[in-house]
Structures are given as C-alpha cells and as structure tokens.
C-alpha cells in the first residue's frame, strides 16, 4: 500500500468508529481522542480494523504512536513495509 492508500484507510476507519464525526476534516496532527472524542473501545476497534486491512497488529506499548492521523500513517507505512 502507498502512503496515500494508508492515509485514506486511516481516515475511512476513523470514520467508521466515530461516524457522528467527520474524520476527513480534522487536523492530521491533532490528538484523535480530542478531535473525534473517541475512547479506548473506539481505539481498539480502529486498531482491529487497521489490522484486518494491513496485517499490522499494533501492540499496546505502541498505542501512543497512533494518536494522530499523521503519526498513525507514518507508523503503518513503516510497519507494512517490513
């Protein structure tokens, strides 16, 4: 997957876990918990959806590395390239 594909995927899956919000319009450097008002349950759903689409299973110690759109994209680009 290209970086653009991954970005599109991240935004789509954020939209699925928080459909009341519009993930496409948030600042990609803003903390997702604040921007989309998501909680730990939503975040797990987000990670599970990413795992199914990319094969990358994010371990708990890495959660902090996916707390913004840009950071999530960078993390997945790195991990999916391996």
């Amino acid at each position: 997957m290209t970086e653009a594909d991954i970005r599109k995927l991240v935004i789509a899956e954020l939209g699925n876990v928080a459909p009341e919000t519009d993930a496409a319009t948030i600042d990609p450097d803003t903390d997702l918990r604040e921007a989309l008002d998501i909680d730990s349950l939503d975040f797990l759903n987000f990670l599970e959806a990413l795992r199914k689409k990319t094969g990358v299973s994010v371990p708990e110690p890495d959660y902090e590395k996916l707390l913004t759109v840009n950071r999530a994209v960078a993390y997945l680009v790195l991990k999916s390239a391996r």
């Binding site: 935004i11 789509a12 954020l14 939209g15 699925n16 928080a18 459909p19 009341e20 919000t21 519009d22 993930a23 496409a24 319009t25 918990r33 989309l36 008002d37 909680d39 730990s40 349950l41 797990l44 759903n45 990670l47 599970e48 795992r51 299973s57 994010v58 371990p59 708990e60």
Partner: protein, 382 residues
C-alpha cells in the same frame, strides 16, 4: 392470548411512539425477539418480547404516541407463559401523530465516482440520500458530513435525539437529587497487579481480542454486589428496597456530541471477562447508534461509570432511580505510595460509591468498595 404492551424503559418514561413493527401478523415470535421499535426520550429503543407465540392483531398504528402499559398487539398461541408484571395504562398523553416513514438504505448512497467522506457516505446510506445529487463543500468539492446533514433535514426516527435525551437525563437526575439522600465514599485501589495481568494477557492477542481495564472493574463490581446485595436493586417509596434477582450492571456510556446512556449488561457476575468485553463493545456501539433494546434500558440494577480516560481523578455519581447505588472510577495513574514502609510508585485508581441512605449506610458502602478492591487484586479469578 397475551397482550404485548408499551413497556416502561425507565422510571421517568410515561409514553413512547411506535415507529416500526419488526414482526407482522402471522409471524412466529419467541422470547427475546425484537418485535418493534419505540421512540422515547432516550432515543429509538428496540422492544423485545418475553413470550413465545404468534403475532396477532396490531392495535396501535405506526406513529402513535401511547402511554406505558397500552396494548400494542395481541400475541396468539401463548401457552403456560408467565407474562412480565405489567404497568397499568395511564391516561392518553397526546393524540396519535403520524410519523414520517423511516428512511431505508439507498443503493444510490454508495454511488461510485462520487467523492465523499466515510461519515458522509454512512449518513447518506442510513438516510437513503443519493450522494450524486449533493453538492460537496469539502476539499476538491468532496461531500462531507455537513453536506449530507443539510440535505437530510431533521433526524430520522431511528437514532438519537440529543435534545430529548438531555431532557430525559434532566428528569431522572432531578428526581434523584430530589428524592434520594445520597452519601459518598471514595477510596484508592491499587491497580498495579491487575494492569500487569492485563498486559500479559493482551500481549498475545489481536486488538479485537484484547481486554480493557473497564472489564476488570465491571466484573469486580458485579462480584462485590453479589456479596453485598443491598446495593443491587430498586427502591420504591411505598414498598421500600427490593434486591434484584440478577446483577445487571448499567454501564454509563457517553454519547459523542453530548448525552449519556446507561444500558444494562445482564448477569455480569456470571460472565467471563472475554464475554463481558464482547458485550461491552457491542453495547457501546449500539448505544451510540441509538439501537438499544428495551431490556437493556429497563433492567439495570446498579450503575458503573468511569471518566478516567478523560483525566478525571474522582467521579461523584448521581444514582439513577429507582436504583440505590452508583460506583465510579477515575483515571488509573502512577502515584507515590507507601508499601511496607517504603515509598514506591503504584498504578492507582480512585473508586467511589454514591449510595442511597434509605437503604444502606456508609459502613456497608465501605465494605462494598473494599470488596471491589480485593477482587481486583486477583484478576485471574475474575
């Protein structure tokens, strides 16, 4: 013949509007089936039936607002079933008003070649709106959520009406503060061991299989309530306190955009942690979509609330009547504490109890909190 009636979905509910029949005359119905959708102040609630039989005549038309206890339909062929206690019908509230039809999914919402955000697509699909007919105001003319909201007009009946939900919360909480003499207790619980256990369990699991600390605290509360049943039940001014036959924890779930629901997870004390996690995940998703079931709205026997993820240290709960207690949890955070004369860092959560003084005293409350803490120290046994 059994009369299927408008259920009471909370002490503050007086009436509901029938918006959808999911079973039709001649259809078989079984205990637990969802047969209708009723719009209440708390959103659209899926109504279950608790007898086996066949759907007979439906006596209330779609769009009618009727009082709790009103017969909605006749159920035929009900044999040796004990119907649930029924509320007496009250005086009619308002004349029946025709509700607009509920919009169904539209294939057009999935139209290819249209640039739209996922949220916009989802709402369009839910509301049956053709994206191709909407002018987008997002980047490069893409359609964003706001565009679909504009095109959709007022919200559909199935879903959440946050203004009405706020009114329902106001009514229940005002009644609570007016009628229930609350007392409050707080204590710190060492979460170091349960978190370490959780970390080990989760390490080999995919995100979809992992457990959250909330599952541990829920189960610990359920087990403590089993030991101290005076916190698990309902208070009625005429009859006093009645302990509940099961432990159905109401789980406070925040609704994005404002609002709160506290639907029940049934028999929490009997569920394994994995099962509890699945139910919690499902309940939170449906609460936010406005797809809760009648039994979930009416059966909670003790509420658990947590605001720890938002950085709150201590949660002072307001009891949801006619329940008699609410347990709260703040954030889990490292804290300097003294163990065996040494200052050490431990992960600590502040747990609170708001209890109804008509039913219990602080002494009993302190034992309940102590038991919750003790249960959490043995996470493998939860």
């Amino acid at each position: 013949m059994y009369e299927f009636r408008m259920p009471s979905l909370g002490a503050d509910m007086e009436a509901g509007t029938l918006v959808e029949w999911l079973k039709h005359p001649g259809d078989k119905v079984a205990r637990g089936d969802i047969v209708a959708v009723v719009e209440t102040d708390k959103g659209a609630i899926e109504i279950e039936i608790f007898v086996n039989g066949t759907m007979g005549k439906q006596v209330v038309t779609l769009g009618s607002k009727v009082p709790v206890g009103t017969t909605l339909a006749m159920i035929e062929g009900v044999a040796e079933e004990k119907p649930l206690p029924r509320a007496a019908p009250r005086a009619p509230v308002t004349a029946a008003a025709k509700a607009p039809p509920v919009a169904g999914p539209a294939a057009a919402a999935l139209a290819e070649g249209v640039h739209a955000s996922p949220a916009a697509r989802k709402l369009a699909q839910q509301r049956g709106i053709d994206l191709a007919k909407i002018k987008g105001t997002g980047p490069d003319g893409s359609i964003v959520l706001h565009d679909v909201e504009q095109a959709a007009g007022p919200p559909a009946h199935r879903g959440l009406d946050l203004d009405r939900m706020r009114q329902a919360i106001a009514a229940a909480m005002a009644r609570s503060k007016r009628e229930i003499p609350h007392y409050y207790l707080a204590t710190n619980i060492d979460m170091t061991k349960p978190l370490a256990w959780l970390q080990t369990v989760n390490a080999s699991r995919t995100p979809g299989e992992r457990l959250l600390p909330a599952v541990l605290t829920l189960k610990a509360v359920a087990l403590a309530a089993r030991k101290y049943p005076n916190f698990n039940g309902f208070y009625d001014s005429a009859r006093g306190f009645a302990p509940a036959p099961g432990i159905h924890l109401g789980v406070a779930i925040a609704i994005r955009g404002g609002g709160l629901a506290a639907p029940a997870i049934h028999d929490c004390d009997r569920l394994g942690l994995d099962e509890l996690m699945v139910k919690l995940r499902d309940l939170a998703a449906r609460a936010r979509e406005g797809r809760l079931r009648s039994s979930e709205m009416s059966d909670a026997t003790l509420t658990v609330s947590s605001l720890g993820e938002r950085g709150v240290e201590t949660l002072y709960g307001v009891i949801y009547p006619p329940q008699v207690a609410i347990v709260g949890f703040g954030r889990i955070a490292p804290e300097a504490t003294v163990v065996d004369g040494q200052v050490v860092v431990r992960n600590v959560v502040n747990a609170t109890l708001a209890g109804d003084h008509r039913v219990t005293d602080g002494h009993q409350g302190s034992r309940l909190l102590q038991e919750i803490g003790a249960k959490l120290q043995e996470p493998e046994k939860l």
